[in-house]
């Protein structure tokens, strides 16, 4: 077995909904080997996004520990988590979440503003990332001038530009047609296989899940493994 990138141990997550407490994740254990490509499926509201948020250091568990690489996320402060996220994890969302006032190039450069790279170096790295996702010729375009698939590619470039080990994708093809979705999924596969990115992808779509190495089913706060074909 290859080494482990992320480990969740006894993780529970409870939300306060009005006066009620809702336990979204219950005593969850999960190991993610480096270089893995995992798809997480499950009904709406089953806690998939919550799980990604915990893995990405956007949220903290109510109990249990989340370890990614050398970092013990559950014990870090908010600003420590911010710094950690800037180099260790890339996020890809269903609705791309690009900044409309910035060009594709500047959107991709955004995470690099937090580094010590010079403006020239930032531009160079952003260009390379755009090349990788096949949008080298769209650098000067604004998000509104791009198709949904292209916007998602820019978002992927932004996620990988600071070269994080882990990519977290929350329904990355949920807003795309079949053909475009397949292109995005192939791109993720390339990032996984050729660039060594560890990917955790939440999806509703069984066909999308097939691109992963393994599929986990999330239901009522627990995960159930099911090997991919």
């Amino acid at each position: 077995m290859s080494e482990t990138l992320a480990t969740l141990t006894g993780v529970s997550k409870t939300y306060q909904k009005g006066k009620e407490k809702v336990e979204v994740l219950h005593n969850l254990d999960l190991q993610i080997p480096a270089g893995d490509f995992i798809a997480i499926m499950g009904p709406s509201g089953s806690g998939k996004t919550t799980l990604l948020n915990l893995l990405g250091g956007l949220d903290k568990p109510s109990s249990g520990t989340v370890r990614v690489g050398d970092a013990e996320l559950s014990s870090m402060s908010n600003s420590q988590l911010s710094h950690w996220r800037s180099t260790n994890v890339g996020f890809i969302f269903q609705f791309y979440n690009l900044l409309p006032v910035l060009t594709a190039q500047k959107n991709v450069e955004l995470p690099l503003l937090l580094t010590d790279f010079s403006g020239k170096e930032r531009a160079k790295r952003a260009s390379i990332a755009l090349e990788i996702v096949g949008l080298g010729d769209r650098a000067k375009h604004y998000p509104r001038e791009l198709s949904g698939g292209q916007e998602q590619r820019v978002a992927i470039a932004r996620a990988v530009v600071s070269d994080p080990a882990l990519l977290l994708c929350d329904e990355p093809t949920g807003d795309l047609d079949r053909e475009t979705a397949d292109e995005i999924l192939k791109l993720l596969q390339i990032l996984n296989r050729e660039h060594g990115k560890t990917i955790v992808m939440v999806t509703h779509d069984a066909q999308a899940a097939e691109y992963a190495n393994r599929i986990l089913h999330c239901d009522k706060g627990t995960l159930e493994a099911r090997e991919a074909v």
Binding site: S82, S86, N97, L110, P111, L113
Partner: protein, 385 residues
């Protein structure tokens, strides 16, 4: 600063809204520039008054004359450097409409009392030598086309001559100007000796005294000492400093300054509402974008700083433009109105104050939206999107 591009782009996310906000900032600081230049003009009148010069008038009324005999007693008072006197003649030249001030006085005493008056030494000497000689200010000379060497008649309205005549004839021996940009030269001076000798009544009196205190004396103490000296005499005196006079004059402008301050206060209050509203709208409509910034690793503080910087940038852009245009207008006004309202000036202090206000107002307008952005929870914001 590497965030500048991001801040700049966000400032212009809604071009019309930003332009309107900039316009209101512009107008506010344009107004600020103009009003503070005007205020500077008013305030400088006070600074220019000669604090070492005192005026002595009759306590009851300015038109009551004072005995000529007071002169030596005033001069002997401790702290008095020199004394001059003048009287009100109240005549006209050629036509009763041509009213201007004529003062019988002593040539050397008067000119050394008012060093700001400028006249060639030779003309002063000629005047002193000629009992019927007179000098007048450049403003009058130009207005009536009077030249040195002219003989001109002044019709008396008060002071008939001992021989019953009302026409006083004078030889113009000099024309004076002033180096005080605020000072007027619209008056006429002639010999007190000639006046005293020729007038039909009122002999042995003068209209008022002007005195200069020694540099180390306290003008207020000197004034009190003089008034005390003549207390309980038939002609009690009232002595005040030119500065005190200018101050009471400036107090009237002080009220204007208060109104100006209140207007500016209202303008800036409105400005804060407008720009504060712009900033909170701007933050409200990009909750998910701010969440993305935080997701990729911007700290809460960085997000706070970015939003605040946007607000300050808007203030600085509109404000500096307003200040710049204001400065140009003030320069123009100083040239056009120089004679009428001297001292119009946009001081460095006013400019620094304005820049301080821009930064302060930017922070005040941006702080609540910025705090909102800072406290924004990524998870909530993304879930809402």
């Amino acid at each position: 600063m590497k965030y500048f591009g991001l801040i700049w782009k966000n400032v212009w996310r809604k071009k019309i809204r930003t332009s309107l906000t900039l316009l209101s900032v512009f107008v506010a600081f344009l107004l600020f520039a103009l009003l503070s230049a005007l205020g500077y003009a008013f305030k400088s009148g006070e600074d220019v008054a000669d604090a070492e010069r005192l005026v002595i008038i009759d306590k009851v009324s300015l038109i009551n004359p004072l005995p000529m005999a007071y002169k030596n007693r005033i001069a002997a008072t401790e702290g008095v450097h020199s004394v001059a006197h003048a009287s009100w003649f109240g005549g006209y030249y050629q036509d009763p409409r041509n009213q201007f001030a004529q003062f019988p006085t002593d040539p050397y005493e008067y000119f050394s009392m008012y060093p700001e008056l400028e006249m060639p030494e030779e003309q002063l000497e000629n005047w002193a030598k000629n009992r019927q000689g007179a000098v007048l200010g450049r403003e009058l000379a130009e207005q009536f086309g009077i030249k040195v060497g002219d003989r001109i008649p002044i019709q008396a309205t008060i002071w008939t001559k001992a021989d019953g005549g009302r026409t006083w004839e004078f030889d113009i021996e000099g024309i004076f100007g002033t180096n005080d940009p605020r000072g007027s030269t619209a008056f006429f001076l002639f010999h007190y000796d000639y006046f005293e000798e020729a007038r039909a009544f009122g002999k042995g009196t003068v209209g008022w005294y002007i005195l200069r205190v020694t540099p180390d004396a306290d003008p207020v103490q000197v004034a009190n000492a003089i008034d005390l000296q003549f207390a309980n005499s038939p002609n009690e005196t009232e002595t005040s400093t030119e500065a005190a006079f200018a101050q009471s004059f400036a107090k009237q402008f002080g009220n204007i300054a208060l109104i100006v301050t209140m207007i500016l206060g209202a303008v800036f209050f409105t400005l804060l509402l407008v720009s504060g509203n712009t900033m909170s709208q701007s933050v409200r409509e990009r909750i998910s974008e701010l969440a993305v910034l935080k997701t990729v690793g911007f700290t809460d503080r960085a997000v706070l700083g970015i939003v605040l910087a946007e607000a300050v940038l808007i203030m600085l852009m509109g404000g500096l433009l307003g200040l710049g245009i204001g400065w140009l207008l003030v320069q123009g006004a100083a040239q056009q109105l120089g004679a009428f309202l001297p001292g119009i000036f946009l001081s460095g202090e006013a400019i620094l104050t304005a820049v301080g206000i821009m930064i302060g107002a930017g922070i005040v307008a941006g702080i609540f939206p910025a705090l909102k952005a800072m406290r924004l929870s990524i998870i909530d914001a993304l879930a809402r999107a």
